[in-house]
């Protein structure tokens, strides 16, 4: 029942912060690059620090990309954070010609030059499907998704225009922000994802 949460090893992520956040909620974590584990485990996190091209290449090398695609298609509980969120989609201005996992249609653009970039700090998110998760969360991104994907619930943020802060469908949640670094509000996002993951398992 209480299986650990598996965190995809990318060699570039802030894994200790993620582990600390889940431990505070009473869950243990294991960092893994094993494709079978990543495909079949009850709950998997795709963390995100790095660049689109470098992270994509690391996933390809470890064959975690195919494993993650398979688990996403099978609708297994998955949390994708920041760059991990961007990798769920097709492409980004950051790395032209590089394709993401392509699980969700969409392309990331750089924030307009009228703003300081990266978009770094706490900003308000609205439209969340978790009522307790309203409030400000911590972002660190230079690229943004403007158009929400069809068939997904979306939450939004504003920085030089509206952009997509999170998408959710069943137990798959992608966050442009860092819930593990977003204090009390971030904890509510993590709790929300864990409870959705739980519901799916008992079905």
């Amino acid at each position: 029942m209480n299986q650990p949460i598996y965190i995809t090893r990318t060699e570039t992520a802030n894994v200790a912060s993620l582990i600390a956040a889940f431990e505070r909620l009473g869950h243990s974590c294991v960092v893994s690059a094993d494709p079978f584990t990543l495909e079949t485990a009850q709950r998997v996190v795709l963390p995100g620090v790095g660049t689109f091209a470098a992270a994509r290449e690391a996933l390809r090398e470890s064959e975690a990309d195919r494993a993650l695609s398979a688990r996403l298609s099978a609708k297994r509980a998955t949390l994708a954070i920041c760059l991990g969120f961007q990798l769920l989609f097709e492409s980004s201005d950051e790395s032209p010609g590089v394709t993401g996992l392509g699980h969700v249609p969409g392309h990331f653009e750089r924030f307009p030059a009228t703003e300081r970039v990266p978009h770094l700090g706490w900003n308000r998110v609205w439209g969340s499907s978790f009522e307790s998760a309203d409030g400000s969360v911590y972002f660190a991104n230079s690229y943004r998704l403007v158009t929400p994907p069809a068939g997904w619930d979306a939450a939004y943020c504003d920085y030089g225009g509206r952009f997509v802060a999170a998408v959710q469908r069943g137990p798959v949640l992608g966050c442009q922000f860092h819930p593990e670094l977003s204090g009390r509000v971030g904890r509510e996002w993590l709790r929300g994802w864990l409870s959705m993951a739980m519901e799916e398992n008992t079905c």
Binding site: V49, R116, H119, L120, G121, S142
Partner: protein, 251 residues
């Protein structure tokens, strides 16, 4: 909207927070982990932890301190001090840092900034600049905890590290550090006007009015150490004052 970040700074030496810490109001004050928890409870938006003896002792920031702080903290943690290589960055990220700040090593080998940005991303790559005023409107970069002058002009260096991929500048005025005279606003304007990345103001804050001035001079975030360690103000009191001055902060 994006709010201005209030960042308490923990200067750590031999595992303890230093810099004029008075031990009242806190049990075992001076412990990085306890101060971290206190500041998060007060509403800090991020913490910076600088291992100030690391460079001089020829090592990277102590991982055990970073781990202890991370266990207490559910907000971002930027760590600096003695970082020389991508390996140092990775092990800090694996032990509790979210962003890593380089200073002396970047001046000695600027390519390190490019390497960090292409591996860990721009948003993870913070470059700290310690700066001293030379003549009117001219500022020079100093390294090794302010003990060594360089040939670098601060404005040129800021432009260079931005083009190399730095995602933020932690800008400390050596002239103001510890003086309580307020941030060096001329320095802030000089730097924020030539880069598009965010800049953290550091050095000289004694009260909320100084933080307001720094924000109006272009700072995206304001860092303070003794202001909070000496319990002159709590983070929440500072935020109240900023809100009254119509500076947007996270409440």
């Amino acid at each position: 909207m994006l709010t201005v970040r209030i960042i308490p700074c923990l200067d750590v030496k031999d595992g303890q927070v230093v810099k004029g810490v008075r031990f009242q109001n806190l049990r075992d004050a001076g412990s990085p982990a306890e101060l971290a928890r206190l500041y998060e409870e007060q509403g800090a938006d991020e913490l910076v932890l600088l291992d100030i003896s690391a460079t001089q002792e020829g090592r990277a920031a102590r991982l055990s301190t970073v781990e202890a702080v991370r266990r207490e903290l559910s907000i971002p943690l930027t760590v600096g001090g003695g970082i020389q290589s991508l390996h140092d960055v990775q092990s800090l990220l694996e032990h509790g840092a979210d962003r890593v700040s380089v200073n002396t090593a970047a001046v000695l080998r600027p390519q390190l900034v490019d390497e960090m940005a292409s591996r860990f991303g721009t948003q993870c790559t913070v470059v700290a600049m310690d700066v001293r005023q030379e003549t009117e409107g001219r500022f020079r970069v100093v390294v090794r905890s302010g003990t060594r002058e360089t040939e670098r002009d601060a404005q040129d260096w800021a432009r260079e590290i931005e083009s190399r991929g730095a995602g933020e500048i932690l800008l400390t005025s050596m002239d103001r550090d510890g003086t309580r005279d307020g941030y060096d606003l001329e320095l802030l304007r000089t730097i924020t006007s030539v880069v598009a990345i965010p800049v953290i103001a550091s050095g000289g804050a004694a009260g909320p009015e100084h933080l307001v001035d720094a924000v109006r001079a272009g700072a995206s975030a304001v860092l303070a150490a003794s202001l909070f360690h000496d319990s002159d103000y709590t983070v929440s009191q500072v935020k109240q004052s900023l809100l009254q001055q119509e500076v947007e902060v996270r409440s």
